[in-house]
């Protein structure tokens, strides 16, 4: 990472603008990823985030190849190509899902392998691994700037806006596609738009946690919240809370220990998941025990 931690995170925040950008970015990301992730989990499409992140990597590699080897400096940031590729990957998935009606999941490994193969090809052509590829694989939030923050903020505002307008439709489609079709919701259209949004958020998450860990940012907080949520909205709220804890905590640890932010964020996420599962099991077995002893005393 670019800076060794000589002063505590909180003081460094006041001093360095890049750190404030990073903090704001992860706060936005911590909000939007589990929000979208919840709908992905309900529709049993958890693998889609992984597929799209691998396809984004192809965009990144091609971007780095064009900039570094061919000298296309007008492409200011390979991240834009990652976004475009993520959307293209999403379109491929939707086309293949339509083609293999009864084996829809086939689309994922096909698109994922295409993305990975293209990445391997262009990384090799660019002279193999270097630090920018490493940063995109494992995340390096401290290197992102305010331009990235504004793209993230705009995507989040659009997503939340769409979700507020089409909340009913999105919930019905996610839980019960047949019923959605029945009451005349244009299911295909909604799926298409939500996949595009997912693709954008996936590509934007690359800088924070990296290609290999993007999916975890969307899925793990939701997986933990599902175990304790009392209702749909409550579960989404809890998943956002877990997610914020992990991204803010992860950013702090990443700065203090000078390690990849993807690693710290995801490890905190996993820690929360483990704690939730352990406490839930303890709680359930204690309740059953109490009920049993109540019956015995009667």
């Amino acid at each position: 990472m670019i800076l060794a931690a000589n002063e505590p995170f909180i003081f460094a925040l006041f001093e360095y603008s890049f750190l404030r950008y990073a903090l704001l970015t992860v706060i936005i990301m911590g909000f939007i990823t589990p929000l979208i992730g919840s709908f992905v989990v309900i529709r049993r499409l958890s693998f889609i985030a992984d597929t799209l992140s691998h396809f984004s990597l192809a965009g990144l590699s091609i971007g780095l190849f064009l900039i570094n080897i061919l000298g296309f400096t007008f492409i200011s940031d390979p991240l834009y190509l990652a976004m475009i590729f993520s959307v293209i990957g999403a379109l491929f998935i939707e086309i293949l899902r339509g083609y293999y009606q009864n084996y829809k999941e086939i689309s994922m490994p096909i698109v994922m392998s295409l993305g990975t193969a293209l990445s391997a090809l262009f990384i090799s052509l660019s002279g193999g691994f270097n630090s920018s590829i490493y940063n995109y694989l494992f995340g390096s939030i401290l290197t992102v700037g305010n331009k990235y923050l504004s793209v993230m903020a705009i995507t989040t505002i659009i997503t939340v806006f769409l979700l507020l307008i089409f909340y009913k439709e999105m919930v019905i489609i996610s839980f019960d596609e047949t019923y959605a079709k029945l009451i005349g919701i244009k299911v295909g259209r909604f799926q298409f738009i939500s996949t595009i949004i997912l693709a954008l958020v996936v590509s934007l998450s690359l800088a924070t946690v990296g290609v290999l860990l993007v999916a975890s940012l969307m899925i793990i907080p939701v997986a933990a919240a599902m175990k304790v949520g009392k209702s749909f909205k409550n579960t989404i709220g809890i998943s956002i809370l877990f997610s914020e804890l992990s991204v803010i905590g992860g950013l702090w640890l990443s700065y203090e220990l000078d390690v990849a932010s993807g690693a710290t964020i995801v490890l905190i996420n996993i820690l929360i998941l483990v704690l939730v599962v352990v406490f839930k099991n303890l709680f359930v077995s204690k309740r059953l025990k109490n009920t049993q002893s109540d019956i015995m005393t009667k």
């Binding site: 019905i172 949520g229 009392k230 209702s231 909205k233």
Partner: protein, 218 residues
């Protein structure tokens, strides 16, 4: 709602499921559909719901060809199984009913429906904590929420206990009296205690329609 099916032949890939099926229902008719497993009952229902695509001039709902019919929200439907429903994610009964509500039934009417079907006390429960029978009743309420003009029920009370089955048919009979057309797939037309007006027997995809004089069914 008036339903007319004329010379409908339908199948999947290599298998013909419905063979030249024709029948007509007027508003307020109550049809029982009987037949063995695999006879084509559910396929017929899916055709009428627009989930199976049929050619033009085969099915008419209120005299509109189903290929041009738009108002599917006026059809209530309770499927036989909820395999399509992703019920492991937390969502309460109230939340699922809230998003399924399109016609403006009041909060009081909604509570009345929940009470009639016997799940008033379950409204804040998570769907993933309900039993199969309770879940079934949630979907029965959902099918009734949008003031349906046609109600299609595919063995809706399998797994629901007797008291609630009675409550359900009482509600269905009341709705039918208000002029709602009802189509009910059932294995046992006596058990359902419903006031059928017509009986459609399907055997190997061929259907025979019979009129029933009200009161004969019990």
């Amino acid at each position: 709602m008036r339903v007319a099916v004329t010379n409908l032949t339908f199948g999947y890939d290599y298998r013909t499921v419905l063979k030249d099926v024709s029948f007509k229902l007027n508003s307020g008719d109550f049809l029982a559909i009987v037949g063995n497993n695999g006879s084509g009952k559910s396929t017929l229902i899916k055709c009428i719901l627009g989930l199976n695509k049929v050619p033009q001039k085969r099915i008419f709902l209120d005299d509109v060809d189903i290929t041009e019919f738009k108002n599917f929200r006026s059809i209530g439907y309770v499927p036989q199984k909820f395999d399509d429903f992703n019920y492991e994610f937390p969502i309460t009964v109230n939340e699922i009913l809230q998003v399924s509500r399109y016609n403006n039934i009041s909060e009081d009417e909604k509570l009345e429906l929940l009470d009639k079907i016997g799940i008033l006390e379950l409204q804040n429960e998570n769907i993933n904590e309900l039993s199969g029978g309770e879940l079934q009743r949630v979907f029965i309420v959902r099918s009734l929420m949008n003031n349906p003009k046609l109600l299609i029920l595919d063995e809706p009370t399998v797994g629901v206990d007797k008291t609630n089955v009675e409550g359900f048919y009482k509600t269905v009979n009341e709705l039918n009296k208000e002029g709602i057309t009802i189509m009910l797939i059932t294995h046992n037309i006596n058990e359902s205690k419903a006031n059928f007006t017509h009986l459609l027997s399907i055997h190997n995809g061929e259907a025979v329609m019979k009129e029933i004089t009200r009161g004969d069914d019990e």
